[in-house]
Symmetry: C3
Subunit: 389 residues, 3 copies
């Protein structure tokens, strides 16, 4: 599912559709393999063998999602060799971060507000910072969307929306916990969708909606309940969280992204800071709050499956909350340090980055039918036969 | 699933793609929230609390489907404020109708031939009647589809086709009944697809197929077994029902829709009368017939899960059939009265309906990249950078 | 799922999108009905009744997949009457082949490397051979893809990729065997994706990737483990198989397809020989190998569900391997003879094949909005109102 969603979400660039979908496909395939190995070494090494199964497939999927989030920040400004190296680095670091959080610190993070979204977003943003391109405006004319590319991107949005409840609840305990996670995610998504539409119309000068907000901020509700979805968030809490996430994310697209680029020199192609970064951090903080309020009364027998350490008496709710907060800090430090070092590595000249004037351009990596000039004159003028025949 | 399907099914309009997908998304999110509340008050209020769970999610989904059907009738002729008000009204009325049918009358309607399709279609049609636009031909030039928009719409068709068996069988009893429902739906869909293709070629002058028929009438087979799908329809019965539904629906697109507009002043943008209205009524009548033929011999132990009132001896098969017929009448009356009153409300000037000459137009509600004029000259000429960066 | 995937995979042709999706839909609906009957007569006739259920639905789905593979070979060069006749023939022959393999020879072929892919591909290729069009170059200018049609085709690719693990594991025994099949398919797909990208860049002169390879060869990994997926292939074996399949398939698109057309007069529109033919035969041979290595030690109690005849002592692993090989030969003979005879039947003049100069053209079968000429001048100039209103 991750594939369809992320792949098409990034198709909005008018001349970068092949690369968006194709490289998503390539990076995901590599990340799935490599993360099965990395996570196998860290988690499930038994007598020299790695145990694989449905669980390791879900874990590898989550890791691939994190890679694709980072890809979103540097979309259009990196070549395939750079992207493959980034994938190798990020998957390893993702595995380490997840191992520290879940196994060493006993942090709960079912839907990955921290491990997937916060980590992926800040890793990608700091990568993008180090790879800052002073003369990117040379490629600005290719950075817009066109009518059909926005519709393709909506395929991605709607898919992610639909499958987010399953995504967040996949790694939780079967039964009540899984249902609770799915319902919380679902309420949060509906709330972020409504707040995004409302705000998008409000902040534009003329009351018109912006497709960029709808495509992205509507999903922030799924990110924000990634940590707390399996906890006793209550439907009202989920609605409030989703509303807040949609608001923050929409405002981020309008006001924060331009500032990030002009002041902090972070060029964030897909706005992952708005969709994954801020809602991820918010989600982690929400997890701190909800974990701190956990009581035996509220969870009943379900406490064992959500907070086993509290149920066994090894931790109080307050200390669990502190561990959750500490987990967020570890994630941020690892993502920032990793992204910065990764960026330095990716600047190696042998990795063949595209020049500033050739960003957001499919033609350097793909054989493009009709080579665009013909398309402008309409499909009738494409003369070259397909290589398939 | 409802989202992908309905959203893309409506993308066929050449300059209304953003609104079709975007408003589908908005209305669905609102309907899901609001119907959880409405249905909670009516069905599952326990000591001041509403019970939520997978079942309430499915119910809310069905209600959203009904809203989207009505949206199809008025697509392109209403603004977002009107649509949101319509959603609030229709969700409440949907809840009341469903409560009357299922709880008070003991009617069976698993896949919602009555509660979803008939209700949604006639509500939308009477809304459209009251909102009749005399000078809609001013926007006629935008009402056609273009090549790519028809392909997008086929994404919707194929999704709905594939998930219809799951859709119809979701609320039925687990086990045999659920399998029977899925199989009946599946046979009916294959039959309506074949009859649609055959008839589409026959009724066009030159033997060429019409994409509109394929996109829509092929799905009528799923609508027509909405009531009777869980009953002992037999595969042959399902095939016959699907064949009939595909035929009626295709003929409706060709002959009835133009008459509805010119004579009855009902402007039905997506032809919901053909896809949901007539097949829904047919499906309800088929349910009357099959319920009237129910015997202990045919159902065995399964009678309890399909017709609990007959199994318990409270009703005969004949009286169940009469209740089913009465359920259809209640649905039609509520839909017609509700749609007409709703239409009067939606004519309030403060709701900001688009003028006759600006129907089927994205630009009044959305910031459209390149603003169309550029797109006509090919993607190369789009100059504005994307707001994402 | 088969529908979405195959339908959109074939949309790459610039002026044949309606026919690709529409005829896929038509043929699949017919194949599902007809194969339920055919397989019912052969497999599950009990006292004059055919038993239907989830299993018969899956079987019918697989048969439809085989028909759509053959359709891929003759895409654009046949009319609907020819296609319907082909479907009737192929479904019957598919049923016979499957009956011989699974019931008479006791061959294992869960994901259908033989019964679906090899059979469908060679049936279609020999059909295409008999229907050879000497003057197809008259339609060459319509045989290319355009930018958006390639993106639509990627929807198909990614869907098939995601659902292939479910597809291969659907008919296997629940539990361990099903999980093993899904994991093997998944590893094989990731490997074929990576090898396809690597090779696609290597074999093009300038290091640029070819969308045709990515769209198709990336899926070869799913085909190649169709037979052996449920067996003890080991993850490493699955990765190696996928790598090999991706390599063979990519090389096939580049070097073999042109030779097939110029030397053997087989015009293979979608390159089914590369995606289904060769990987299918490879998969069958891999099945021979892995079956020959089966031991009680490796499978434990699972041997009963994968190789019941070996578990019961009726066969040795070696004799099972010979039966598997014999099954491949039977499949090839039936496909080649059936395809050739089918081709002769399809040449009947009453079936109304399109002329050589009208291949790959939607307009002879569909009412196309704007009739293309307008589209070239941009969407604004489409004047005809939609028939929906």
């Amino acid at each position: 599912m991750v594939f369809v969603g992320f792949g098409f979400l990034m198709v909005f660039l008018q001349r970068y559709g092949f690369s968006s979908v194709g490289f998503t496909f390539l990076l995901a395939a590599l990340a799935l393999q490599w993360s099965t190995l990395v996570q196998g070494f860290l988690h499930s090494l038994h007598g020299g063998h790695i145990l694989v199964g449905v669980e390791s497939m879900i874990n590898a999927d989550f890791c691939a999602a994190s890679v694709l989030i980072s890809f979103g920040a540097i979309l259009g400004k990196t070549g395939p060799a750079q992207l493959l190296l980034m994938t190798l680095l990020e998957v390893a670091l993702f595995g380490i971060n997840e191992f520290v959080l879940l196994n060493l610190l006993g942090v709960r993070d079912a839907g990955g507000s921290m491990t997937i979204h916060t980590f992926g977003a800040y890793f990608g943003l700091f990568l993008s910072r180090v790879l800052y391109r002073r003369q990117l405006e040379k490629s600005k004319h290719r950075q817009g969307s066109i009518y059909h590319s926005d519709l393709f991107a909506m395929i991605g949005t709607i898919f992610l929306w639909i499958f987010w409840p399953s995504f967040n609840s996949a790694p939780t305990a079967l039964g009540d916990t899984q249902h609770r996670t799915a319902l919380n995610t679902y309420y949060s998504l509906t709330a972020s969708t409504l707040s995004t539409f409302a705000l998008s119309a409000l902040i534009s000068g003329d009351g018109r909606l912006d497709m960029v907000h709808v495509q992205n901020a509507a999903l922030a509700g799924g990110v924000v309940v990634g940590t707390s979805g399996e906890m006793m968030l209550t439907p009202f809490g989920a609605l409030a969280a989703g509303f807040l996430a949609g608001t923050v994310s929409t405002l981020g697209y309008k006001f924060l992204t331009p500032v990030l680029e002009s002041k902090l020199k972070i060029q964030d192609t897909c706005g992952v800071h708005n969709l994954h970064g801020m809602p991820g951090v918010l989600g982690a903080l929400l997890g701190v709050l909800v974990a701190g309020l956990a009581t035996h009364d509220a969870y009943g027998d379900g406490l064992e499956s959500v907070f086993p350490l509290i149920a066994e008496g090894q931790r109080t709710a307050r200390s669990q909350a502190i561990y959750q907060l500490f987990g967020l800090l570890v994630t941020l430090v690892l993502a920032i340090v990793g992204g910065s070092l990764g960026g330095l590595l990716l600047r190696l000249p042998c990795l063949d980055a595209p020049p500033d004037s050739e960003c957001y351009e499919d033609q350097i990596y793909w054989e493009v039918p009709g080579e665009y000039e013909n398309e402008a004159q309409g499909p009738l003028s494409v003369e070259e036969p397909d290589t398939r025949a």
